[in-house]
């Protein structure tokens, strides 16, 4: 009976322990897309700047697996991933870009400063495609196979150590 009195204390210590443990862990904010292993939704976006084509689902069908890179000129981590996208391009990967809520002059300014690894860039002014593929921020990168299926999602900027992983995923999707 006396032991029963200890239950509230034990419960309190349990919850305090869980809360304390969680405080020591870094905040997990990435939301994985449920669209991985599903077909890329139908879409057609106008060009994000003059002189480059826009992007649609049809651009992913056929040929080799490609990367779909969701980015924006106002996104700071996108600057950090630019050189690594460049490396992927040098490895022969076709990267189709989606510029989110961006202006043509800002897009071309970004490309001339940090390089242009894209073959096409679609303008997603109202996060239409972003929501359709289950992306929750910029940048995010998706591996799309030749049948137009989403095979892999990379959340956040691509760092040096992610390049090989993405090449591997592209290989797997082929």
């Amino acid at each position: 009976m006396r032991l029963l009195y200890l239950i509230p204390l034990a419960l309190f210590l349990f919850f305090a322990g869980v809360a304390g443990y969680q405080l020591t862990k870094p905040k997990q904010t990435a939301i994985p897309s449920q669209m991985v292993e599903q077909a890329l939704p139908e879409f057609e976006l106008p060009p994000a700047l003059d002189g480059m084509p826009g992007a649609s689902r049809a651009d992913f069908v056929g040929g080799k697996p490609k990367l779909l890179n969701i980015w924006a000129s106002w996104c700071v981590p996108c600057i950090a991933e630019a050189p690594h996208l460049e490396r992927l391009k040098e490895e022969g990967v076709e990267i189709i870009g989606i510029a989110v809520r961006d202006r043509p002059e800002a897009v071309s300014g970004f490309l001339s400063r940090y390089g242009n690894p894209y073959t096409r860039i679609g303008a997603d002014d109202i996060s239409e495609l972003m929501l359709a593929v289950g992306a929750s921020g910029v940048p995010e990168t998706y591996v799309i196979d030749a049948e137009g299926n989403i095979r892999y999602q990379h959340i956040g900027d691509i760092r040096e150590n992610h390049v090989d992983l993405l090449l591997e995923k592209l290989e797997e999707a082929g």
């Binding site: 939301i31 449920q34 924006a72 809520r101 002014d125 109202i126 996060s127 929501l131 593929v133």
Partner: protein
């Protein structure tokens, strides 16, 4: 003189325009514009209160000023306007983001303990209370 400076400051504020917007792009058509049909707008508002903003995760998209929340409100309103039901719009988002996008707790294989534990505790408390009160009652009877 003071009035002049105040006036100057006011003009300066007008000139700078909104700086909060991340990209300086105008918001999606239905991000801040209500639907014309009041019944449909009420349905949209009710739905928006049950959807989580993905950028600012402790707010519903109805409460958030994040550009992405605006784009999600646009999806909600334009889809309802196109004839989709609230459940269909909700399902469309859940298909993409999972339970995470729901700002209204629903019972699922992972969330059932949240609903079961309080009920269990309540039952336990009730049981303890019943036993104690029952005991006290019998004591009183004995004393009388």
């Amino acid at each position: 003189m003071r009035l002049f400076i105040a006036l100057l400051a006011l003009i300066a504020v007008q000139l700078t325009g909104p700086v909060a917007a991340q990209s300086g792009m105008p918001p999606a058509p239905y991000a801040y514009t209500q639907l014309e049909d009041p019944a449909l707008e009420a349905e949209a508002t009710a739905l928006m209160h049950t959807l989580r903003c993905l950028k600012c995760q402790s707010q519903s998209i109805a409460d958030s000023d994040a550009p992405m929340a605006g784009d999600m409100r646009h999806q909600v309103r334009s889809r309802l306007l196109a004839g989709e039901s609230a459940d269909e719009v909700r399902d469309w988002l859940t298909q993409r983001y999972g339970d995470y996008v729901s700002y209204e707790p629903t019972v699922s294989s992972t969330t059932w303990p949240l609903f079961a534990i309080p009920l269990l505790l309540l039952a336990l408390v009730g049981l303890v209370l019943l036993r104690r009160l029952g005991k006290r009652g019998s004591h009183a009877d004995g004393a009388a």
